[in-house]
Amino acid sequence: MGVFDIMGPIMIGPSSSHTAGAAKLGRIASLLFNRKIEAAEIFFHGSFAETYRGHGTDRAVTGGILGFKPDDERIKDSRQLARERGINIAYQTIKLKEVHPNTLLIKLSGKGQSLTMLGSSIGGGNIIVNLIDDYQVNISGKLPTIWVLHQDQPGEIGVITSVLGSYSLNIAFMQVFRKKRGTVGSSIIELDHLPGHAVLRRLEDIKNILQVRYIPPL
């Protein structure tokens, strides 16, 4: 935790957990999907389920999905803006097991693809993403973060880290996860520095890398 997690963020009210955190989660989901969004389903759990309308959590997460940052004054009108952009968004409540009281499940779809993300707003506008599709992750969004899907085979992680190293990018945190041995591996890499387009494209070009997504720090 840094001082600006405590005195900050600068944001649109009324609730750091229910507005700023929700906007961040929506924005990350949108960045992970990285395609034109045609439809979104947003599920509110716990305290979110009880109060999402009054806190404007629906407007905040919608704003995030549209790419707005938590201090963007357009958040207030995001539901209208989403309609204008032709995005069909459904809002529902859900009861999940063993998750933080302020948890969101976001399903995005478009062009025949879909993405499901589970994340929580853990206080003061700070967030954590726990699950992307079936991959367990732990993303705070504070550092430049890269999500890579790759073949689960010897040397693959080494290839990725060498590429990052060759661009002088230091890895702060790294998590590797797979559903089943020898299938697809998921790596979350949090960096100390901002990666340029070139390094991201370089990663995408590697034969056994299936997908690369980048989340700039919020």
Partner: protein, 287 residues
């Protein structure tokens, strides 16, 4: 250099002969590898947004979407038949002003949270005006507040949903109390004592907002918690100490938060939220 407790923060300040604000700033420089100027500038920007939100709220043209909140800061500002004590009054006006801006979906600094965002700017900016402090001094005060809040974030919680309102307005009041002591020239131990005194007296505070909105009782509670911070700062500056040390008060807050039922932690399922009036408001808003 690092701190995980208030005790460590105070000891570092005493050992180095620095104010707490400077210790907090140096630790931040060490952890983020950002320059002093970058970090300082970002906190100064916070001060600027705080000042704007105070000004907007004091002008009194706000109504929250629900219609429950807005215009009280103005009411306090223009009324001449009040209890004496202009400084306290200014603090309360500032706190209501920012809290009203927040409820109206305006721009604020969440410090430590949006629901409690009126408390720290209220106290810091009113002291700044009254004591004619520079922006640099006020910015330093924000670092002190942030350092204190950081310990709570590490060891307990700042979320009403996890710890009740004690974790939001309670901690904000304690942070403001600590910052006030430094701004008034108190030593690092006094900063810690003010923090402990303020937080101790708001332990157990439930988060039971009407219709689940950050409006009732939140907006007026910002006014109360801001004046509460001054009471704690006054005591600490006079050398009054909390019998329970700051870090143990944080532990107590954490424990109380865990024991508190979910119905009193931002779910609007108990307390003020389910009073006949509270429920009637909820029903009206859902129509």
């Amino acid at each position: 250099m690092d701190y995980a407790t208030i005790k460590e923060l105070i000891e570092l300040a005493e050992k180095e002969g620095l104010p707490i604000s400077e210790v907090v700033l140096r630790v931040e420089i060490g952890e983020t590898e950002q320059s002093r100027e970058e970090i300082w500038q970002a906190m100064l920007e916070n001060l600027g947004v705080m000042r704007e939100s105070v000004a907007t709220g004091r002008a009194g043209q706000i109504k929250s979407p629900s219609g429950l909140v807005g215009g009280d800061a103005l009411k306090l500002r223009v009324n001449n038949t009040l209890i004496p004590g202009n400084f306290y009054r200014e603090v309360i006006i500032n706190a209501l002003a920012v809290a009203e801006v927040n409820a109206g979906m305006g721009k604020i600094v969440a410090g430590p949270t949006a629901g409690s965002s009126g408390i720290i700017p209220a106290v810091v900016l009113a002291l700044g005006e009254h004591l004619q402090l520079s922006d640099a001094q006020l910015t330093a005060g924000l670092f002190t507040a942030a350092g204190l809040g950081n310990v709570v974030a590490k060891r307990a919680t700042l979320a009403g949903a996890a710890g009740g309102c004690q974790a939001e307005c309670g901690v904000a009041s304690a942070m403001a109390a600590g910052a006030s002591v430094e701004l008034c020239g108190g030593n690092p131990n006094m900063v810690g004592q003010a923090f402990a005194l303020a937080l101790k007296n708001l332990l157990g505070l439930a988060c039971d907002p009407v219709a689940g909105l950050v409006e009732v009782p939140c907006v007026k509670r910002n006014g109360f918690a801001a004046s509460h911070a001054l009471t704690a700062a006054q005591m600490a500056l006079a050398g009054i100490e909390s019998i329970i040390p700051p870090d143990e008060v944080i532990e107590a807050m954490h424990q109380i938060g865990c024991l508190m039922p979910a119905s009193l932690k931002e779910t609007a399922l108990a307390g003020l939220a389910v009073t006949p009036t509270g429920l009637a408001i909820k029903e009206r808003l859902n129509q």
